[in-house]
Symmetry: C2
Subunit: 483 residues, 2 copies
């Protein structure tokens, strides 16, 4: 369990690193970050981006050029080969090659992994249904129908049920001292939808956005799908390098910064309170919106996390996404997006077009459970159960030489594997033995981080978690023995 920031030293600049750069470029081309015929970053820039020396970056470019994926132009640099994207595509297939298709590389990769029925599910950051109050909630639902006999024959308004938004406004005041009006709250169908709405409403193709590296991978797709250029900001156990954030805001004038600063997915890191305040100041100075995705706020193991960035915001630069249903009743899919009126005016119409409002039934069930005493008891128990599962996973991993920073909350460990265990090989074999995890490259907007994996400890019970990790380690040892 060491700080990850310092791990990549000179010794790591090896053939393996050339491969990382190579893969990052391929991925960037696949995801549409760099378009056919477009100019690639210079060798120097790529070296800086990937934190490798220039020679390593150059080697990767040369290899790509040899394979015909990129073209070197004399005195100009490297370009994406123009006919590459159509290679091997028949006219019939080309006809169906719709714009969105190729832009969901991360998401579809992730779906492919999640889709597999495995015994040891450590890829989805989903809470074990056994830890949720299913029976209690089912009874509650019956009360909802008694209270609102017409809940099934009524549409919600676009912003969401007025009663629920009023109660949530009260909750934000009570929990965080944040003053927010009900009409500054929008109920969304899960936080995924909130991210999608923000990307559609607040940025246009060609805009730039800062994003954590690594990050929640579907967010990468959501922003890229809008034609937004992503500029990565490294997140470490200490938070961000704020000088770098300021430099980027000043030089690149990004429209927004998508962040997950509390028990971050996938790393579990938390941006400290003093950085939060300064980030809000920077956002105001450079007119960069902060999209704060706060899905794990209540899943802390020690003391509660620092207040959301939204707490420090006075000028309306923070959009705050909070999800609750995840750890109560994920099937309900209820999240809330808080935004000041000028922004809400832009977002609400996109919500209207998307689905005309989240189903009322789900909002009413959520409301009545969420504001019950029972919920607080449940969440307290859930924290204890998850902390225990984390300890089980960490205990199993403790003698492997795998490295991670132990998180104070959330559902995941972000683990660095030793150089001699290739992640893709590990994943392939693990899946064939009914074990699933997320390869780190999916979480990297640059498509690198090929030595990291995300392990979720929230779904399996303690026995299966220990067994799953034991088996995963055995596979890794097997690979090591073979090479």
């Amino acid at each position: 369990m060491t700080s990850i920031g310092s791990m990549r030293g000179e010794a790591a600049v090896s053939q393996r690193t050339t491969k990382s750069v190579y893969e990052a470029i391929v991925r960037g081309i696949q995801t549409g970050r760099w378009l056919p015929g477009g100019k690639l970053p210079s060798v120097r820039e790529m070296g800086e981006l990937m934190q490798v020396n220039r020679l390593t970056a150059l080697k990767a470019y040369r290899q790509l050029a040899e394979e015909g994926l990129v073209e070197a132009k004399y005195k100009s640099g490297y370009y994406v080969h123009k006919h590459d994207s159509k290679a091997g595509v028949s006219p019939q297939e080309e006809q169906w090659d719709y714009p969105a298709r190729s832009l969901y590389v991360n998401r579809s990769r992730l779906s492919d992994i999640h889709r597999q029925q495995v015994d040891f599910q450590m890829s989805e950051a989903l809470i074990d249904p056994n830890l949720l109050p299913n029976a209690y909630l089912s009874n509650y639902v019956k009360q909802v129908f008694d209270l609102y006999p017409r809940v099934l024959s009524t549409y919600s308004t676009v912003l969401g049920d007025a009663e629920l938004r009023e109660e949530l406004a009260g909750f934000f005041m009570a929990q965080h001292g944040i003053s927010v009006r009900p009409d500054e709250l929008l109920i969304t169908t899960g936080s995924q939808q909130a991210i999608d709405l923000v990307s559609r409403a607040l940025a246009k193709p060609g805009d730039k956005a800062l994003i954590e590296r690594p990050t929640y991978s579907p967010a990468i797709d959501a922003f890229q799908q809008q034609g937004i250029t992503l500029l990565p900001v490294a997140i470490t156990p200490e938070g961000y390098d704020l000088d770098e954030v300021e430099r980027l805001m000043k030089a690149e004038r990004p429209r927004l910064f998508y962040m997950n600063p509390t028990f971050q997915n996938p790393t579990g890191y938390t941006v400290p309170a003093e950085q939060r305040k300064r980030l809000v100041e920077l956002a105001e100075r450079y007119q960069c919106l902060l999209v704060e995705d706060d899905v794990y706020h209540d899943i802390y193991f020690g003391s509660p996390p620092p207040p959301p960035l939204f707490f420090y915001d006075t000028e309306g630069y923070v959009l705050y996404i909070r999800s609750f249903s995840k750890y109560v009743a994920p099937g309900l899919r209820i999240s809330v997006l808080a935004a000041r009126p000028a922004l809400m005016d832009a977002i609400a119409p996109v919500k209207a077009l998307s689905d005309n409002g989240t189903p009322l039934l789900n909002q009413k069930i959520f409301q009545h459970y969420f504001f019950s005493k029972r919920l607080q008891e449940h969440v307290a128990k859930l924290r204890t159960a998850l902390e225990l599962r984390k300890a089980v996973m960490e205990n199993q991993l403790s003698h492997t030489g795998w490295e991670w920073a132990s998180p104070d909350g959330g559902l995941n460990l972000w683990v660095r594997l030793p150089d001699d265990i290739p992640v893709e090989e590990l994943l392939r074999r693990a899946l064939s033995q009914s074990i699933a995890f997320v390869p780190g490259s999916i979480c990297d907007p640059l498509g690198g981080m090929n030595d990291r994996i995300r392990l979720s400890y929230s779904y399996l019970n303690e026995t299966n978690l220990a067994e799953g990790i034991r088996r995963l380690i055995a596979i890794a040892e097997e690979i090591r023995a073979e090479h």
Copy 2:
């Protein structure tokens, strides 16, 4: 009750028609159809589009030029004035002028109308909750929890619950003899979401799409929001002019044709069976997807409507949107989109990004009610009740001189008002007297049709419906008397 196609004759080319052209252009500029600095259609083209003579179109352009909204360029034509969109916008406001904002004109106009609490609600095509099986359904929901105790702690897959899709595939075979596999079905949160997904997945900015004139107004916004140019196709009680459709497909190569061919919203017209077959052939010939929105299929008053276009499709050119929850439990928000694999491959990832899948609970409630005998009984009763309400509305309107073609199904009358009753004035006064309806211009992709209104007969009971229409007629008489 006359055919509407023949109503606009020479006599109508009056000052009022100039105003229609004027308003259509203003609306086109507001909605982003024509961008600042962009060239407007020629006087001749505009005359053809609006079915007025050139002099009338010219008058409208001259008036707009006088007011500084458009610019005449010598020997070149008319252009949208460049600084118009920013006029009066302070730098602060401009900063917040996000791309999506101005593109939802129809939708937000409609929302403004729907938002008003009125006693005589004839603007929303929503079924009276008293006609829905609320109590029965509430009991049903309890069974769902007994059957699926973990329904609240489970996510749906992106495509939707496998069991539900299997049953729906069986339903399509049983009802229409359509063979569709469960993996060719996607469950969406209402048909609004299906339209939004299609517009995002299957067309890109600059693409063209055919759309009925008039049409379901949020569809106009959904496609325009994607930067798609809309080409209107008139719908009449006889269907479309197929020669015109073919001419447009051939000349303009539209990516898709969004249509609502059965008891169309807002007109209630139904495209006849023989046209359906030919439309599918045209779609194949010109590789134009047909997006068939079939929300009112089961709400027929005489014999069932012709089979969906989807029934005739063998080559995968039809995407079929079917909504059921509307007339069972609108609060559930369950629709289904059927598309062949090549198209589904493009749509499913957009659904994943949008919300990761429609909530499972809603799907399970819907499934268990929808496939019960009880549903068929309910729908049969509902048809009778709605037909009666339609008759009440038509009876009240029968001596007004207002004109409409009596629909064989659906929830709306599409009414032409006499020239001396300005719709906007009627709406303003109606709303102030707690009566709501939809002005026709909202349903027109060209923003014209200023003499039409849509009256929904589905929400009010017979007494209130008769009273609402009586009062509306009284307001119209009042206006006429004043002018």
